[in-house]
Structure formats: structure tokens, C-alpha cells
């Protein structure tokens, strides 16, 4: 007991000796760290981005790898125990057979073929982040196959497709909100600060955008992308379309924030000391609105991921050979898949986890950024 008191006294003294001056960002960070769910969401998001950045290295195959003898093979798990006990990590091979009546492929575990997993495996060549070519993968098998999440109807490894498809899904989720943020911040600030007729016009434009049914509008715009465009251009086109439709909510939020900040005394004080309007917007209004801006941009990421997935699912988004989570789900779009190849739905699981992660992160940031909550 006594030592405990001494301990706490010591702590108090330590605090007194070095009074720490915390900036607003540091305070926000402290508050964010206390939110367990938010931190967990942040970690998930971080892992997802690391996964797609190092996608080529983490995935055992490349997108070009097609195994026609193992189409729609079910997932196989990594085992460390075989008939004789403990072993180095390995996967069993498949024994494929075809039902002569239904032409249904059946795969069974072939306990005789055992493929050991090779770490830092030299496999198919890929381009690492567009910087250099390498054939180094984190893991793979030297002979036989290893399809941890199964294969799709073209015989591609689903794990590889999900990791590499995440690139598109997640990069859209960053680029889209960034463009929305810029458009929304500019128009929202102008609307809120200038007010009057300008405000009215911008708000009516926002209402016009918002009153359109969303999916038909996406479809129309996506369908307007020329069919002969390369998949990269289509990708950029999709980002721009989603961003141009997504700025409205953000602009509304910024406008409200700017309107309330505009009436603050420190703005009057700045005017009274001879500041210009532009100076006030730049120096006083935007920095004060910045944390809320970033938070609402984070919160808009999940809807971007979903928007991309919906478009691709409907066949109007990203096109093969590019792949995204939505494209992968499109391939699982029929009853036969649900009945026979349920593993083709694993991309949906990734979408759900990513969106939950972003939502928790966004909620945590929002709570941390709000100076009026405890």
C-alpha cells in the first residue's frame, strides 16, 4: 500500500516537473487511442493497405496463372499434422473426378500427394509496385498446387485474385474521397463563407445531385465510358464518376461548419485587425474545419468501396483483365455458385471486414476530433 502511494506521488511529481504542452493533434491522438474499437479498425485498415501494397509478394501466384486442370477447386488448408504426426507445413493435393451424368467435377483430398510449402518461394515473375521485376513470393509450392481459398471458374487462385483485386478496390477508396474532399471543401467553403445567392445556387446543385436515384445514375455514367477504353482508363473514369457524385454530403458538412465558424469571435477579431476574406478562410476557417473534414472523408471511404463493388458487380465497373472485389463477386453471380462453389463468395468477406474496419476507424476519429465530447 505504502509503496503504491509513493509510486503515485512519484508520478505526480514527474508530471509536475515536465509540464507537457499538447497540441490539438496530440490531444486527438490520445483520445483516439482510448477507443479500442477505433484502434482495432485502424489496424485492420493498415493491414489491408499493407496487403495490397505488397500484394505481388504476398500472393502465391499471379493473375496470369491459370490451372485448367483444377477449375473451381475447393479451398485447401495448410496442415502441420499428417498420418505420422508433426510435419513441416504442407497441403494435400487434389484427386479430381468427373461425374459422367452431371459433368460435375468432384475434388477429393489426395492424402498421398503432399506438397511442402516453400517460404520465400521463387515462382511466377511479377512487377513489384511497378519498380522492378522479381519472382520472389512469400510462400508457394515447388510442385503440385496450393489453393488456400480454392480456384474460380478459370482455374485462377482465388487468394491471389482477392489480394490483387483489393488494389483496385482500396485505391479507389482513397482516390475517390480525396477528389470528393477537394471538390466538397472548395464548394462548401465558398457556399458557407460567401452566402447569399452563391450559397443558394450551390445548395440547389447539391440537391439536384442528391435527388437522382443513385444506381441508375452510376449506371448511365459508367455506360457512357467508351467500350474501347483500356481497363486503366475505365478505372480512372470510374473513380472520377464516383468522386463527382460523392462530394455533395461533404460540401454540406463543410458549409455548416464554415457558417458556424464564420460567426466566431476570433473571426471578428481577425476582421477587426484588418485581415482579408481569403486570409480568414485560409488561416482561420479551413484549419478549424480540417479535422472534421478528414473524419468525414474517412467515413465516406466504405461507401466508395461499396459503390465500386456494386458497379463492378453489375458488370459496368472495372473490366477483366483488371480485377477488383466487385468483379470477383460478379463471377459468383448465379445460383449454381451458391450451391456448388460457395468459396467464390470469400471476396464478400473481405469487403465486409474492410468496411467494418473503415467504419470503426472513422467513428473513432470522429469522436476524437469532437472537442465537445468527453
Amino acid at each position: 500500500m505504502k509503496t503504491e502511494t509513493n509510486q503515485s506521488e512519484k508520478n505526480i511529481n514527474e508530471i509536475d516537473e515536465s509540464p507537457e504542452i499538447l497540441s490539438r493533434n496530440q490531444l486527438m491522438w490520445r483520445k483516439f487511442k482510448r477507443n479500442k474499437l477505433g484502434v482495432a479498425g485502424g489496424i485492420v485498415v493498415l493491414l489491408f493497405y499493407l496487403m495490397v501494397i505488397f500484394g505481388g509478394f504476398l500472393s502465391p501466384y499471379t493473375l496470369d496463372h491459370k490451372d485448367y486442370s483444377n477449375i473451381t477447386a475447393p479451398p485447401r488448408r495448410i496442415r502441420i499434422i499428417d498420418q505420422d504426426g508433426l510435419s513441416a507445413p504442407f497441403v494435400y493435393g487434389y484427386k479430381a473426378s468427373m461425374d459422367p451424368e452431371t459433368l460435375q467435377r468432384n475434388y477429393e483430398i489426395d492424402k498421398n500427394s503432399k506438397y511442402y510449402i516453400d517460404f520465400l518461394h521463387r515462382g511466377d515473375e511479377y512487377n513489384f509496385l511497378g519498380l522492378f521485376k522479381t519472382d520472389l513470393h512469400l510462400f508457394g509450392v515447388n510442385e503440385g498446387q496450393m489453393y488456400l481459398l480454392g480456384t474460380d471458374e478459370t482455374g485462377s487462385d482465388l487468394l491471389t485474385k482477392i489480394i490483387l483485386g483489393g488494389r483496385i478496390s482500396l485505391s479507389i477508396s482513397l482516390l475517390g474521397p480525396l477528389i470528393s474532399l477537394i471538390i466538397g471543401a472548395i464548394l462548401g467553403t465558398v457556399s458557407g463563407y460567401v452566402g447569399g445567392v452563391v450559397d443558394g445556387v450551390i445548395q440547389r446543385i447539391i440537391e439536384f445531385f442528391k435527388s437522382f436515384p443513385r444506381i441508375p445514375l452510376w449506371l448511365t455514367l459508367a455506360a457512357a465510358l467508351p467500350a474501347n477504353w483500356s481497363s486503366l482508363r475505365v478505372y480512372i473514369g470510374i473513380v472520377v464518376i464516383l468522386a463527382f457524385l460523392g462530394w455533395t454530403g461533404l460540401a454540406r458538412m463543410v458549409r455548416g461548419k464554415i457558417m458556424s465558424l464564420r460567426e466566431e469571435d476570433f473571426v471578428s477579431a481577425a476582421i477587426a485587425s484588418g485581415s482579408t476574406g481569403w486570409w480568414i478562410v485560409r488561416k482561420h476557417l479551413i484549419p478549424n474545419a480540417m479535422s472534421q473534414l478528414i473524419v468525414s472523408a474517412t467515413l465516406s471511404i466504405p461507401s466508395m468501396i461499396l459503390a465500386e463493388a456494386s458497379l463492378s458487380f453489375l458488370g459496368l465497373g472495372i473490366r477483366a483483365p483488371m480485377t477488383s472485389w466487385g468483379v470477383l463477386l460478379q463471377e459468383a453471380q448465379n445460383v449454381r455458385t451458391i450451391a456448388l462453389h460457395p468459396w467464390l463468395f470469400t471476396p464478400a468477406l473481405f469487403i465486409i471486414v474492410a468496411i467494418l474496419g473503415f467504419n470503426f476507424l472513422g467513428d473513432g476519429l470522429r469522436d476524437a476530433a469532437d472537442p465537445f465530447s468527453n
Binding site: 504542452i21 490539438r24 469571435d265 476570433f266 477579431a269 477587426a272 485587425s273 484588418g274 485581415s275 478549424n288
Partner: protein
């Protein structure tokens, strides 16, 4: 009054507001001038046009509803040249150069007048950078530290890097004063600067302002509804009622010999330490500025109302160096 010693000279200022129900005459025919190094106190109830007078001086009347309908606001520069502020657009370069540099303002709410996302030092530096040609960062910082030291903040070298939330109310008001004075303004407009502070801090701030005034030879226009504060700082006091000046005199004679019934009412409704007399509030309330009575605006509340007060608005009479807008002094002026 010789113009060489005068900092600001306001003549018959009229600041009106267009509202849905008609024109509100927030400031109606106010005239005054402030000499160099002197303090003018403006006293009055809420809504009597005190703040609008100061906003008009800065040419910051809330637009688009408010506007300066008439009168002159002559500001005299250091070199003696003058500028009529009412002739310039509120957003013109010339006005911006006057604000902060020639005339500075401190506000009622020190809690919200500082931007929470910047350190206090940054905000003082910002005020300096707006008007002065300092380029060097160290030099700017040094000046900010000097200003904080001047307004009596201890350990200014450390405090300069702190955020407004780390300052107490009194310290924030000191920081606001430091910001306002950072460009050596010749006129400081203080709009109820101590209303939000507790009494001991109030006294400190008033003393500080007095010292700085002597130090920098600056004029102060001090707005308040607290007569006790006015007695401490002002050389001359102007009492306002419904946008008009009802009495103007030097501070001593205002307290010893108040003339207008409204001024007397204000003084009687103020507690005096040691006195066992009951406080006498002024009966009634300020009339609606949209529906002012035909005669004297104070008629309904005045204990000395006469027949003439009901029908005719009194002109300003000069009695013993004081200006009083009350029919009671019609005879005295003739006599003197």
C-alpha cells in the same frame, strides 16, 4: 478643439438597420471626439447603440442590413492628415490598413476571440505580419514574446507556444490586448473587455490598460455598462440611450453632479459600498427602437417628466461644460 491633438472626430453619426418591420436607428446622431492619450467611456444599457458606434468606427457594421446613413467619422493620422471613414468601402485596402494598425479592437469574450488551433504566439505574429514588414521568424517571435511580457504574462518565452485553452480568462484577455497593441495602434476600442472576467481580474486588466495607455500614448474608447469601471479609466464619459447621447461630461462631474435623469437613475441603481440605502432601479424598460415615442425617448421612465417632454424631443443643452439632452436644462443654459 484643435485637430492636431485629435485622433478621431465623429460628427452626427447615424447607423441604421433595415429590418422587415422598418428602419432601426441603432445610432442616431452621435457626435464626439477623442484626443490623443485620452479615454472616452461610453455607458448605457444593452441595445443603446454602444457597440454599433464602435463597429461604425471600424467600418464593420453588419452587412447587408446595417449601413451608415449619415454623418462623418474623421480619423486623424499621425502626420495630421485626415480620412473620413464613412466615405470608404468596408472592404477597401485603405480600411484594412486602418484596422489593426491605426485602430485596434478588443472584444468582450476572451474565451472565444482566440482561434483554438493556433498557439497564442502564432496569433500575435499573425497580427504583426498583417501590417508590419517583419520577415525574420526569430524577430517576429521575439516581438510576440515582448508583447506578452508587456501585458504582464509571466514566463512569456514559454507561454508564447501555448494554446488558448491553456490560458485562463484573464490571461486570454491579456493576450488579446497584446495582439491588439502589437502594431502600436493610436486608438484602442475596447468593447466591454472586462465583462466576462471576475472582479479582481477586471481590476488588473483596467490597471494594465491604463499603464499601457500612458506608455504608448494611445487613445482609448472604452465601452461598458459598468459605471464603476468607467470611473477608474475614463477622462470623459458619454451616456447613451436609444442610440442617442443623453449626457456627455468629464468623469468627475458625471459622478459628483449627474445631470440627466437617466444618468442619475444609472448611478442610483448601482450599489455603493457602506451605503444602507435601497437600490433604486429605473422603472420600465428601454423602448422599442422601431416605435420610439414622439417626444423624449426617456419620457415614460423619467421621474421628472414634464409636459413638453411628451411632445418634443429635447435638443442638446450645454451646462457647465457638460452636454445634456434634457428639457430640464433649457433655462440654465439661457442663464449661463
Amino acid at each position: 478643439m484643435s485637430s492636431s491633438n485629435c485622433v478621431i472626430d465623429v460628427k452626427n453619426l447615424q447607423t441604421f438597420f433595415n429590418t422587415e418591420n422598418g428602419v432601426v436607428k441603432a445610432v442616431n446622431g452621435v457626435s464626439f471626439s477623442i484626443e490623443k492619450g485620452k479615454t472616452l467611456g461610453i455607458v448605457g444599457e444593452s441595445g443603446c447603440g454602444k457597440s454599433m458606434t464602435s463597429m461604425s468606427l471600424m467600418n464593420l457594421v453588419p452587412r447587408p442590413k446595417g449601413f451608415i446613413a449619415g454623418g462623418e467619422i474623421n480619423y486623424f493620422y499621425e502626420d495630421g492628415s485626415k480620412i473620413d471613414i464613412t466615405e470608404y468601402d468596408h472592404d477597401s485596402e485603405k480600411m484594412r490598413k486602418i484596422r489593426g494598425n491605426e485602430m485596434a479592437m478588443i472584444f468582450q469574450e476572451p474565451m472565444t476571440s482566440l482561434n483554438p488551433v493556433y498557439t497564442v504566439g502564432d496569433q500575435i505574429i499573425e497580427a504583426i505580419k498583417l501590417h508590419q514588414n517583419y520577415k525574420n521568424k526569430d524577430e517576429l517571435r521575439e516581438r510576440a514574446v515582448k508583447m506578452l511580457k508587456k501585458v504582464g504574462i509571466s514566463a512569456p518565452e514559454n507561454r508564447v507556444d501555448e494554446y488558448p485553452h491553456e490560458f485562463s480568462g484573464g490571461m486570454r484577455q491579456r493576450a488579446m490586448i497584446a495582439m491588439a497593441l502589437s502594431c502600436n495602434p493610436r486608438l484602442l476600442i475596447a468593447d466591454e473587455p472586462t465583462t466576462a472576467l471576475d472582479v479582481t481580474v477586471e481590476a488588473q486588466i483596467i490597471n494594465l490598460m491604463g499603464e499601457l495607455q500612458k506608455d504608448m500614448d494611445m487613445s482609448i474608447m472604452f465601452i461598458t455598462h459598468d459605471l464603476g469601471v468607467i470611473g477608474d479609466i475614463a477622462d470623459e464619459v458619454m451616456v447613451m440611450y436609444t442610440g442617442k447621447v443623453v449626457e456627455k461630461s468629464d468623469t468627475k462631474s458625471l459622478f459628483s453632479n449627474p445631470k440627466h435623469p437617466y444618468t442619475r437613475g444609472l448611478l442610483n441603481s448601482r450599489p455603493v459600498i457602506g451605503s444602507k440605502k435601497r437600490l433604486e432601479p429605473i422603472e420600465g424598460s428601454v423602448p422599442d427602437l422601431l416605435h420610439l415615442p414622439e417626444g423624449c425617448d426617456f419620457y415614460d421612465r423619467c421621474p421628472k417628466a414634464m409636459e413638453i417632454c411628451k411632445n418634443e424631443d429635447p435638443p442638446v443643452f450645454e451646462v457647465e461644460d457638460c452636454k445634456v439632452k434634457c428639457w430640464l436644462y433649457r433655462e440654465e443654459e439661457k442663464a449661463s
